[in-house]
Symmetry: D3
Subunit: 335 residues, 6 copies
């Protein structure tokens, strides 16, 4: 799918599965991008990728994605009925209903399949967010979001200024771009778009998700990580942030945040599970996508069954270490 | 193990297991190097590593290797009784018996465990061979060896000139370096050492396997790939090349060489298996190490059981693709 | 010209023409640097250059610049009569007159021609500003300056602490460095120098623009981008920031800031042109340099004729795409 | 078009237009690849690309190519009537017909549009040829081909061994170069395929042009540069080399080869033009593609009109220098 | 020594000697790491290392460190009697005793020798601090610390959240910075540990200093640079920051801070020396390590004798320039 | 000095002093290039530089060289009276006189000072030689030259074809190597120029040493290493090779070549010294430059006094290791 299509699917809480890359190994990333994942995340925070690594691996994802055949793309995805919840909320505040869906439909009518690249940025800061998007990412996963204000800052960093915000004159033409939806001030998926502070310079992204700011905004997702004690406490407010497309659970930090001595600490399993459940429920109520980081396909499948709408299997480095260990043990075993 | 210890073990046909790296991803290579493999090969021919990649990943192997604990190191290795066959052959030609073992013992008495780095060089050419060794490789796997003359060229490229060869005066002191063994003209493992054409400049390797040429030669292995029709036809002569430490089967090319339309072509399975068996038997008779490239630990285990003395599991790129595919299928399956 | 000479010319509002680089292609940058542009800007915000790219391309500019022949250098430059306006303002506030000119003259008496490198930094943040300058940039273009406080922060980040500020004791010696000028508190070009927060470590720059802080400050320009609604509203205050050498218009973002739906939106042409004119007039009144980003030489020429004192033609990436497209069309046309 | 389609079009002497890249600037290469050129050549001989540069830019071409719309692709191409001449000759000589054509047709029936990447390798040597192809090139341009034997070596380096050559009893001669084995196979486009010495390891190329050797061979073009006095003298024999898909004129070196004191020397214009004409005529007679290096679209168009079947516009570096110079002159001119 | 051992020695004010690297030259860094320095600092602020440079050179330090022999390690180190002062103070304030010491003892009992890598981060910002530690640094030197609040931010950025802080009811205030929580924990070396904001993802560091947060914290040192006028004024408060392991004098900036016109300005020698003395005395009183940057071994030796507990010789770039200059002068001199 | 000037000075056997770089650390290389050495050699054989490293460091040399002041340049150089010997010999053999000298004089009259970059290429092979020169090297040092034929191949690889050789009827033999053609041209410095096989594409070099082949040849030096037993035996014939500008002793390999067990082996000191003396004498008789590799300025000074005309101090890596070791020892010593 292209970036617009991906954004629409994510916003409609369709089930999506991704892969998490920490290695700066573009040929491996390219191969993973053709396997059929809906998205691949490049980890700019804890991963081993500097700016050049992000740029080259985003290119690798595009190269690999072009090799996917339609048959492999997201066959199992199912629209989440709760997506309407958010549109309803939008209706409550005004006239903006349908626009988000409309945008999605418009973009989605281009049914080209493919895998998009996301970046987990190094910090909730406009500079790395802008650079990841200019380099071609279809969206950002923003770490360490503690409050709704943090989430709003992340959203603003990923969106261009809205004509409405800067030049009060009408913008009446209504081209059907997200900006039109903004006119209603509603909280449809596109409602928070525009009004951002992203600086203009879409070096790579302009070729793929369009150089027109409103169109770029419509095709760009912003996902806030819930992983700190404060973020957990404020999850409802964060989910309600206009323009935020979803939240994303970082289980390692979340486990520490509920008192674990280390990621996976069994002594806090109950607290951890309660937090996981709460986050999914809150996102569902808010009508935003609920994502989670997982170590393997089985865990991803389990979380998707339990209410999460997207899940990422992680990571190339740990999987490689794991499979290389297994092969060594097998090779050393008696025949 | 250090490079000298590795060379001694390989020459005595001890069973060794390695891993094959094609990605230029040093942090992954470092992790693999600490798992407990006896060696890691960096593929400079078909792999995605240029010169800088080889250099950095050899450093990564050294960094990762230093994390290995003694308990993990090659516990299952067993000396091959046939190693004596080659020493016997050496005896036949003169007085050189035992020197190879002696050298090995000397080096081996330093029982430090660890994983060494090898390089499959891009070609049988002194330049890439010299650069791989200067960069810190404990040995080279040389592709496309067709004849004993090819093998001799590979050996010469990896060994420094011998004092004997260049300065006819006695060199009578006999320090116990390989050069002394050469005096006998025999075919002990060290017989071909010295007399090479390697140029002096051990930038990284000098720190690890010694700056003294004869010592460096003793700690450096040269392995010839058997993969072409000519190489298969000449395998006995190749194995008999003085100074060659072992042969290494490249099954993909070998399969094409016995008439396969593609690697693994079942129509030539008989021819392929016959070739595999012949090569192992020939190496055993010659007393040199017999290695083979395998896709997984199970195959490696099988070949080791069938007479090969070292086997490499390959590769990071394909294993990563494989495990990522499996995780996606699992994630998409019904719970 | 060397960095000091460039700073003097820019501060005296001489007409200067630059080129804008977004590609990390040092050999191309080197060639552009010898064509005869007064400066080359490396884009660290939207460009495709990470830290290593900035470093290597600054070196490329120095290498290319050394190939320029005197005859090619800035032949068309004409001193702007309004430069005196600023010096006058300086006189009005005290005794600082002439210092800026004096510094410029001293540096300028070294009439070596050449092209200097500037960096458009990724953010108004001391870290990237300091690293660009340490790497050898003759100045920085700082994006997204909204207020005079923002501009002052940019200036401080690019200047070393002043002795006066830190050690109240006299500093009476008056070496004629910019710091002496600071004593007057005036608004001469050097008035804002010193008093900064730049940390000392001029790895590359020390060789070219001097390791002595005051001299480095004198040879370093700080240019604030006017591109946001707030920046436009505050342009007069920004221009009045002590130590700021000039402003720089980012037309794409500025167009969005006046309500455009996309850069170049014809519906806001009047607002856009009014803003452009206002900015030039304000800079002229303040006696600081007025620069602008342009897509081609013709536009640059037009803005210079209309009151801008420096203009940058942008960019290598778009020009290359453009010329390659033209060649393809020509090649495909009937002969 | 994909690699197979490109190969089929080139072999049928359809008119193709390419672009020549010497800069290691992947984002620029990606943009050029989407403009609509039939191919982009990465210059590994005189260009500024090392191995990593070739690898990344081949990936960039694939990424950019996926953005091309069908409408832009090669509309002006016209099949060359002489292509049949070669097929006839092949039929005439015997038993080789069918296989190559069949494979080619199969691949060619996939009419996906796009731009392929070629590499002008650094030397006529199996190592750089194999590495360029493994890295994903759809073909190689081989410099400094002096003789038919040189051309045969280039072909062999780019083609996998043929089952027929290696398994069949017929390969009795021992030396059996591919050319010898091919003698029976005629001169159909695919006739020289197989029988090569390429080693198996299609890291990136396997995903795009198929891991099956015969299919990869069918989708891989080999082009010999005519640029030396000897190459010019032997052009007919070179064109007749089985498996060679075309020749490519290097005008700079060719001009020196006909006695020019520098490329473009007017004193040897007659000799140069005669050589150019001779080469085109010879290629046409042999039924192979005739390509030429040109500085601009106009020259490319002229050569295509004059009998060349493909032409490359060169290069990013010189075009960028040229356009930047023009912009500076315009900016400095009076308005 | 491993990272835990290094931290214990630094905290006990043992004398340690380090080397300062600004070049991105991993093979040189590897060699320096085996010479026998207690630590090597990679300069991420003024040095020529981007993120990839830090990562690769940290790996180089680990590779080089593994070559050190026990005999060479820190022979001259002597425990500082004042280290007990701090532990006492910790005991006096309450319940925090034991944990830090226990962890330290456990780690310290592993007396493996070696050289650890530190990073002088580009700014007092959680992102570069976290990335340096994830990449394998045993600690960070944080520039431009002006206040105790700055120091507390640096400490928090380098430490994982403490279970106590996040799970316990006591964290009721909401804002609850780690420092507040630590107030009860005393000022033992480990007292400030935990309670940080470091995000979990120890890609390289996890292999060496343990993936368990509390253990990683125990093995990670945080050092605050004293170099600004404010920092100098607040040095006692900074030294008292819970969790801070030491301070580090940056003489160049410190000299400017006491009014020097340039680093080493003789006119402020008295002020400079007074500051140097004050800082050492303050650190000693607080029981934290006192470090300083020096140009050569002689100066390092002098400062160690004068009360500093660790000193870094700087740098590869200036030393290389210096020795190359000396060799040239010698070579040009008459024999 | 520029490349032409350097070539002229080297050919006239003026005394020149260089520095040897093995690290890929461009900022260090840039600094070394401004110290005042006549040349800097980048080691592409044993050094840690791949192609990108050579390219970037050649640029660094040009950047650093532009900072040299005239006063520092080569003050001590003294023309060698024997230079006339060679010119005489050249005159004696025929018609080739004048061109080389004329070109040299023209270039030399530009007395701009500076440091040029040379490359010790990885092998005596036209590909790395051509790439080093295209990347901007002023000359090549070619390793492992055994015979005059080897030297002639090196010369041919570095020189463009001569109009005379390619256009003249005389080239009737067909094989016509340059050496044959040169036979008539005598042994003036320029006699061997032209007649080479260098392919045209001076990407960086064209800007500095001219795009006209004959001019480029005149400004390009070719130096053959004498380091093997064969090279030593054939040193007179090698020195007599037309177009060869000098020889260069590699003492490490030469010591092994005279029977040393390791570089510097005292047991072969007499043989070594005899060889050193013989080589210098032979070069002097042949009128070519005699260079040698040395570890320090003192040794360089000694060899220059003993008849060598240029000497290189080596290397950045060992000097850095040495000075860092000294600083550590000093720091650890009692005060």
């Amino acid at each position: 799918m292209n970036a617009g299509n991906f954004a629409a699917r994510l916003r409609s809480r369709e089930q999506l599965i991704g892969y998490w890359v920490v290695l700066d190994a573009p040929v491996a990333t390219e191969r993973i991008a053709r396997i059929g994942y809906d998205y691949v995340v490049l980890d700019g925070q804890h991963g081993l990728l500097g700016y050049q690594g992000l740029l080259t691996n985003l290119m690798a994802i595009d190269a690999g994605s072009s090799l996917r055949t339609p048959a492999r793309a997201g066959a199992g995805a199912s629209a989440d009925a709760d997506a309407s919840a958010r549109a309803d909320a939008g209706t409550g505040t005004g006239t903006g209903t349908g626009t988000g869906a409309g945008t999605g439909a418009g973009v989605g009518s281009d049914a080209r399949t493919g895998t998009v690249g996301l970046v987990r940025v190094e910090a909730n800061n406009p500079t790395p967010i802008g650079r990841a998007l200019d380099a071609g990412a279809a969206g950002v996963i923003v770490p360490l979001v503690d409050t709704a204000a943090d989430a709003a800052r992340a959203v603003a960093a990923a969106r261009y200024p809205s004509p409405r915000n800067t030049n009060a004159a009408a913008d009446a033409s209504g081209t059907g771009t997200p900006a039109a939806a903004d006119a209603s001030g509603g909280s449809t998926p596109a409602a928070g778009m525009g009004g951002g502070v992203r600086s203009y310079g879409p070096m790579r992204s302009g070729l793929r998700i369009g150089p027109v700011p409103a169109e770029a905004d419509a095709a760009t997702v912003v996902l806030a990580m819930i992983e700190t004690p404060q973020g957990l406490a404020n999850v409802a407010e964060i989910c309600a942030t206009p323009g935020l497309d979803g939240i994303y659970v970082g289980p390692s930090d979340l486990c520490l945040s509920v008192g674990g001595r280390y990621p996976g600490d069994p002594e806090v399993a109950d607290e951890f599970n309660a937090a996981i459940e709460l986050i999914a429920k809150t996102a569902r109520a808010a009508g935003v996508a609920a994502g989670i980081h997982t170590p393997d396909g089985e865990t991803a499948q389990r979380y998707l069954a339990a209410g999460y709408t997207y899940a990422t299997v992680s990571s190339d480095l740990t999987h490689l270490e794991e499979i290389a260990t297994t092969h060594l043990e097998t090779a050393r075993s008696a025949g």
